[in-house]
């Protein structure tokens, strides 16, 4: 198990957003998180790399372990944690700089490579891994803003891969994209799981069924059911899960 979450309660100020969430995230697998909007999927995801630390008044109780190490302990270096646990956001957020500099950003920030040639190599390797190299190799030094929405999202994935993370958190990575771009992202996720542990939030049931090995269903801040994707979609144990995946609510 890559990540171990034990009895997590999460609060935005006085408002509680997660109730007693416990689960385990498998290594080199895709875990999908589904549930109606506002049920706490993003909150849960963002507590796995302490992105919620940035929100004033946010507070977490319980335990989140990465490889057995408590990420909320005082000894944990948050900067290092975020390098190990990368994140892809719902709306692609390329930096206002060139394609190349976007991918090289994390490499430079974390001083993973110093020589220009080494950086070049990493940029090419990760752009290939993100299935974007062929489309951008002739305009590496043009603004990232000139890419299409789907390309921008794959650029963000490449950018995250460049710092060699172990885990990738994706918050509805394809929800703002057209079907063709979505298919590319899904294929990419499928290929990436050989090397990474992936947790992906999606509101798209078919997508969860297609790409994930395990699925967690959230409702009102609780993790109602967590199981192999096959089981969740064929024989859910809980009534609410069945209602949700068959579209009876949500």
């Amino acid at each position: 198990m890559k990540i171990n979450v034990g009895r997590v309660n999460f609060y935005y100020g006085k408002q509680q957003a997660l109730y007693d969430v416990s689960t385990r995230i498998r290594q080199q697998a895709v875990t999908a998180l589904i549930g109606p909007s506002g049920c706490g999927k993003s909150t849960f995801l963002r507590s796995l790399n302490r992105m919620n630390d940035l929100i004033p008044g946010a507070r977490l109780e319980g335990k989140v372990e990465l490889d057995g190490e408590d990420i909320y302990s005082d000894e944990m270096d948050v900067i290092h944690l975020r390098r190990r646990v990368g994140m892809i956001f719902q709306r692609s957020n390329p930096f206002p700089m060139s394609v190349y500099d976007n991918v090289a950003y994390g490499v430079r920030v974390n001083k993973l490579a110093r020589k220009r040639l080494e950086v070049d190599e990493i940029v090419e390797k990760t752009l290939r891994a993100a299935a974007l190299w062929e489309e951008v190799k002739d305009r590496l030094h043009r603004s990232a803003m000139s890419l299409s929405g789907g390309q921008q999202q794959r650029l963000c994935i490449a950018r995250a891969l460049a710092v060699e993370p172990e885990v990738l958190l994706m918050d509805e990575p394809a929800s703002a994209l057209d079907p063709i771009s979505t298919a590319k992202i899904e294929e990419l996720i499928y290929n990436l799981k050989q090397s990474y542990t992936i947790v992906v939030v999606t509101h798209n049931m078919q997508q969860a069924a297609r790409i994930s090995d395990e699925t967690g269903f959230f409702l009102n801040g609780r993790l109602v059911e967590f199981n192999e994707t096959k089981r969740i979609f064929t024989a859910p144990a809980v009534r609410e899960t069945e209602d949700y995946i068959t579209g009876r609510f949500g």
Partner: protein, 283 residues
């Protein structure tokens, strides 16, 4: 006639007429000023105006070269003070200010922004002129620089706040520290806006006269270095306009035209920079 529909239509027409008239009024005032300046100042404007010192009383001709250079030096000084402090203050407010200190700083800058420029002049007079014992470019530059600070702080803060939070989070998620994310992603994203704001602040203080009257004071000759009284465009306009000589009035108009052109050019440049950035960010 009294149906709600006709009433609504009448209200529409009346409101349209009133707002239209006001807009027309505002725009025509601007064009009237521009036209009048061109007409009055245009024919006093020649090469001498830019290259010669003012002519002694009783002689005609001469120019405002010392005032132009004086204004330039004052603005350089003002920038040296106003830009770094204003910029860093804005960055602090937008990116690092917690709630309480940020509130205090923001409130103070707003107050500072509302301080009448003549009061800023007395302040610089008391602090710099009285201490040094004489008027100087330095004193004038400090007065203008302090006036720039609150404008630069607030515009910097505003443009930084307009940067989407997803950019900050994106950088932090890659393992950047807070200051690194701000320096390498957030500030570059807001830079055209920040530059625009600073240019506008500069244009704004370029025309200030009151704080210069008793700091830079004015001078009919060159003012070498930073330690002597200096002429500047706004204060020369003031002195020439109230003098009892017809050709001095002409030159005051010419100087007004030069100053306004300068401010307009800076304004247009600033808006141009901002438009380009908007386009770049959209892709």
């Amino acid at each position: 006639m009294n149906s709600p529909r006709t009433r609504r239509r009448m209200t529409n027409i009346v409101m349209f007429a009133i707002t239209g008239a006001c807009t027309l009024g505002a725009v025509s005032v601007l064009f009237f000023i521009l036209g009048y300046l061109l007409w009055q100042g245009g024919h006093a404007l020649n090469l001498d105006f830019f290259t010669k010192l003012p002519a002694p009383v009783g002689e005609t001709g001469g120019g405002f070269a010392n005032a132009i250079l004086g204004s330039a030096k004052l603005l350089v000084l003002a920038s040296l003070i106003g830009i770094p402090i204003g910029f860093l203050g804005g960055v602090y407010l937008a990116e690092f200010g917690g709630t309480t200190p940020a509130f205090v700083v923001r409130y103070t800058t707003d107050l500072l922004n509302g301080v009448p420029s003549i009061v800023m002049g007395i302040f610089a007079y008391r602090i710099v002129v009285v201490t040094m014992g004489h008027f100087s470019t330095l004193a004038g530059g400090i007065a203008l620089g302090v006036m720039m600070i609150p404008i630069a702080v607030r515009s910097t803060e505003e443009f930084l706040r307009a940067v989407p939070n997803t950019l900050r989070e994106g950088a932090l998620a890659l393992g950047a520290t807070k200051w690194r994310a701000v320096a390498t992603v957030v500030i570059p994203a807001a830079l055209p806006g920040i530059i625009t704001g600073i240019l506008l602040a500069l244009a704004r203080v370029a025309g200030e006269t009151a704080p210069l009257l008793f700091t830079a004071f004015g001078n009919l000759f060159w003012s070498p270095g930073w330690n002597q009284p200096t002429a500047s465009l706004p204060d020369t306009i003031f002195k020439y306009a109230i003098a009892p000589y017809e050709d001095w009035h002409q030159q005051a108009w010419a100087a007004g035209l030069v100053l306004l052109t300068l401010v307009l050019v800076v304004n247009i440049a600033a808006r141009f920079i901002l438009r380009r950035q908007r386009r770049d960010l959209r892709g």
